[in-house]
Symmetry: D2
Subunit: 415 residues, 4 copies
């Protein structure tokens, strides 16, 4: 089964916006292979606008010229991805990433390039024309490049099959499909077509849907059609967004399971916004970063690093290689909050092997704050175990009491 | 003042959809000049898609090729409007209509052709590019041709000024601007730009906004920026739509006045849907047509004939030349319902010259029904006058009682 | 016809709240007879809580003891209305008011006193019990005295008939029924029962419904069942409330006519809040009071004086006796705004006799402001007439321009 | 801790409505002591209207006379509860229930009897009057007896303390408080006052709040202030209601834990509606009853039998004594659905002791239907265990496949 546990990797958006280059991707892949792969990290994902030679920063150019083949399928802009020259697409870059023992992913938008429709291009492997498949009224609200497809027509399936054939030929392992996860009910059928094209293309690929918030009432449809989907709008290094994630996590935690993972979005850690300034750095405090990692692991969200990894400082590297914490992603299940108030939250997650459980305590307030949980509330008679961030042991306790920093967290492995 | 009284004319949509031709327009203009002009009818309006050589019926082709000049301004398709050949646009046709003593109007969509932006065409009379003026996210929900403009930029004004300069040069007297009247608050500024371009172009043109329903709470903005605006979605020959107009009319009647007229839409009378079938004919009964004419005149809606006029039968011609009824449009004011129930409605409108008033009674039920109104309710002591449709006189009555056909109407001129 | 023109009178609420006494009512009646009756003022109305001996100010006592007869019908508290002693109810006071040539009105709440139901009292003139008629779940949200009735049962009609019989026996001319006008759809049937009881009781009474805002979509039901109904919540001497009335007036102006009048509420002029402090006085400026009177007259609202009339100063008395202005209430019809913006409003109302019209201009801004209206906009060719507040004449003008004080008004009688 | 596991017992509503008698209560208590107590059943709860001597069936009498003491506290009607004679209240009946080794509960409405306020009775143990504590505007929408309290006043706390003192003196173990669980935000403070009075009264009592649906966003407030609360409106023997419970259960399952239990309402099994007809019997099929019991146990809802227990048939008794199933209530935690579709639902709940888990499969369709779940989806590598209803063993399976009757269920204990 694909995505049997939550996918872990790196995505170029938080550090490079629409403007990442091949060189940067290679360097980050090399870093991951050397420092992070032993901890389970494996995906390298090129985010949006790789077909636009002049893309810059986090904004989009209207009416930009996008590289595409004669079938209206976008190609990497050679200026930014030199190895794509000669029509080779992302194949050389994917090969390189694979050579490092990692997996390769790309971002796509639902639909087709607008000019493919206006130019009446043919759809590869079919008798159809792009101009029949495209829906001139189905546009993304925040990106000017594409038209969505007329999913009631066979032309739509033909086009999506044609692009997934191309991605399979390139050796792609992960697709982040954008402008779709929150577009229910309008895009319900489009999600199904993309999901089917993905599963039928002859290569296993993780299918990730963006942006959020995906609607909770569509949980079963998402579980059937995607491997992960965003549960919020874009997440950045802002405490208010992190605090708000607790409510989202509570709503969605039930729906995490093998092959289908609610996604709390990239981890904005380390060197961010490099496309805007080489000095960009996460605004999260250390406590906040530990809280983020603790929550993402407890709820078993996919983990996608957002920073330029080669600039990681020791704290960041340590944060991303805390083996006992990352183990929660594979060893636990049934995670859910015991309670959440304005000031604090307590989460619990039993281990699948029956050998105890994980308990996380969070300080959601802006002050130092003590959180207490009794053995009874944790579903245990007596408490034995270790706090993961500090390494502190607890023996035969009737309750856990943790004095937490503002926005801080503690996570216990209990027996 | 432009549109000092409600504009009266003919529009090609109800009979020819997107596919009217020059020849048909000329024939209808000739008919109007001969039979209707003496009764106040004067505008000949070419509706949507005149730039599309292959337009047909009432549907739209996505990604159709539209005729345009080098500045991204649409031109009449020469195949359908031969006199436009050689870049003369609508000038020859407008000249011909003027030669008959009539006025000439065209339909436009807000925004610019999508390809004008994708091709980065220059804006006439400016340094700007169409691709900067266009907003790739501002599209019409039902027509695939245009992008709305980025009205916060000077490019938008430049483009709208450029098209109105062209229309003035062609001799256009009436602009029906579409995809805009109900698009508040999104298009509020776009309405203002179009209104200003219209008033500043050097030629007097009536500005009509479609489609409805325009929002009632924007009444003052509409009064300031347009000469007429649709108060409903498209009106057709269906009793349910006609019955529903009574509620709209009640809400909007206050806002009719010199220069600004709430518009109940075209009159679907006579030969309709000629583009689909030459046998098309209005499905309204005679009673319903009299009710429609009575309500439109009482509320002082603009009157735009929707049928192919050369096929008018005697009933239709009589309906459109009932001089005493049409006089209400210019002689009355302050029209409003006395009451409206499920079964009936009574409207009153005093004459501006103080010489009595008009009283209309409507049977909204599906059965023969008697409607009664007392002199007191009509604001008079005693009732003297004549019913317009039947010519029947009333003398010294204390009340009017009219047994009306199903969906029928009676209108009195009272002293 | 009852209420053929808008009722004019005095109501005790604004000056005495729940605590008016017989003595005060008599004094105000005497004042009206002497100073105001020649101008059309005629109703003297005792507002809420006259059955409660200990009522004070503008608040309500829960579980207060209310005077009632053996049939659960409220009686005036003798401590406050001494002439009611011996079971005579309001008869002696009504007689006195009539002796002055005026008319007498009282306030009632829909429903019956709660204790009439809890004590299982019989309903006068029937076999029924109050406890069957009362609906223990139908209560007023702001007054603790009553239960609404179970209008689907004959008991409800029996009770309402019984109280109107009593009021007819007392000689009541005007009923202000409270907790009902905005209680659609819950109280729709209760309105009908009260209306029928009123019309069938053997004495002509004006039926006035409170509090507002009555829902606009119930206009026809209100016109059929009441003579006047409140279009806003309680109106007081606050400019924001007065400014907001322009929007209400625009929505409702269509529905004013013989027998049915949208009601903009009492006029808070002169000495107010006497129950709280004998120094109470309206906070409206002179300009605001003229604006209020101008708008109420133009829209033909009923006029109910809210102040303690015996304390009127010359300005207030003059305001209430401006004969040319008050004449609008009887001579005009079809009033409606020409336009209303943030800063200004213009209203027009033709005379029923065809001899010209009234034009009112309002400054809604907080600064001196010039309002201009052309002859064309007013529906006239040339302007002749007189401004009512200033007496200034205008001859052969093409437009009226009036520099108005902040919140001020001007009203022209034009030919 | 009170309610450390979900309370289990019997409630008189489903079989006797408002009309249960002491004799019936005693007989049911005797039955429970003999047949059900060994399986964990222990509460005997007298539902609504025990103070009304003439209560009958499931409806309410407006303005009925309710038995109360001189402090406005309701007393059992002696006609129905003879042992209450002489002011002994429920003490003798509670004593009897206790003598059988069971616990005793009663129903209350929030607020106080309306007549306690109208009669200005004193509040026991205080200087206050009931008429000050009562809020004449706070009434139940479906029961006519009470006024809610003015919770911002100390009088409210005094009254609630006074009634809980009385219940403690009677020996009450369980309070079902009605007209409150879904009354957020209006009754938020009233819930807190009742909760505090309950905890401070000197006797441990389970506090149960009705009716539902309690609002999900108030979960933390409910967990802090009550031991159980209804998550739906009244539940009856109707498949549509049972099917709808799956969605509620999914939303609320996170919030079950020691001391706080989302409550899916009484179990309408066996002899129901005895007050209406002695032949009343549940309309649920056997399959539906097993589905209900399976879901209630998996989600760890409290279990309250609704039928007249002395009429239980063998099926019903077996249903209520399925020890392995009932064990889920105490042994499992973290229950949640794996998925729920139109046709089926799968739930999982690990055991707290780490020794395996429970897996329930439900057929929500109207046809026989096979539901399949893989070991992987259940969080296990290989499946060993036993189906509880059939006793069938499974060994070393890679998946479970169960062909279920319409509306049927299967529950596995897996290792």
């Amino acid at each position: 089964m694909i995505a049997n546990t939550p996918p872990m990797g790196w995505n170029s958006w938080d550090c490079y916006g629409a403007a990442v280059t091949e060189e940067t991707v290679r360097k980050n892949a090399e870093y991951m292979a050397e420092y992070l792969k032993p901890y389970g990290w494996e995906y390298i994902v090129v985010d949006i606008q790789w077909a636009n030679a002049s893309a810059a920063g986090h904004a989009y150019d209207p009416f930009a010229d996008l590289a595409m083949d004669e079938y209206g399928r976008l190609l990497p802009a050679e200026k930014r991805f030199p190895s794509a020259a000669g029509g080779k697409g992302f194949r050389p870059l994917a090969d390189y990433v694979h050579s490092l023992g990692l997996k390769f992913g790309i971002h796509i938008m639902r639909g087709m390039p607008r000019m493919a429709a206006h130019r009446h291009m043919p759809i590869e492997g079919s008798e159809y024309s792009c101009s029949t498949a495209a829906d001139p009224h189905s546009i993304c609200l925040w990106n000017p490049d594409m038209y969505g497809l007329r999913c009631e027509l066979p032309e739509a399936r033909a086009y999506y099959d044609s692009i997934f054939r191309l991605y399979a030929a390139w050796g792609v392992d992960f697709i982040k499909c954008d402008d779709i996860a929150r577009e229910y009910p309008r895009c319900r059928r489009e999600i199904e077509l993309i999901s089917e094209a993905c599963r039928n293309c002859g290569r296993e690929m993780v299918l990730s849907l963006s942006p959020g918030p995906a609607p909770l009432e569509q949980a079963e449809h998402l579980k059937q059609n995607a491997n992960m989907w965003r549960i919020t709008d874009d997440f950045w290094d802002d405490w208010r967004l992190l605090k708000a994630m607790f409510e989202r996590a509570e709503k969605w935690c039930l729906h995490a399971g093998p092959g289908h993972w609610p996604d709390a979005d990239m981890l904005p850690v380390g060197a961010l916004r490099q496309c805007d300034s080489p000095d960009g750095w996460t605004r999260f405090t250390h406590a906040e970063q530990r809280t983020m990692m603790s929550l993402w692991c407890m709820m078993r969200s996919p983990l996608m690093i957002g920073g330029e990894m080669t600039k990681n400082d020791p704290f960041t590297l340590d944060l991303l290689t805390k083996r006992d914490l990352l183990e929660i992603e594979t060893a636990a299940w049934c995670a859910h909050p015991l309670w959440t108030t304005e000031a604090e939250s307590a989460w619990v997650a039993p281990r699948k092997d029956g050998k105890g459980l994980y308990l996380a305590l969070f300080n959601l307030s802006d002050k130092k704050h003590a959180v207490t949980v009794s053995a009874e509330e944790a579903g245990l008679g007596i408490l034995n175990g270790r706090e993961i961030w500090s390494g502190k042991e607890t023996r035969k306790a009737k309750q856990l009491r943790s004095v937490l920093e503002p926005h801080g967290a503690a996570v216990w492995r209990l027996y």
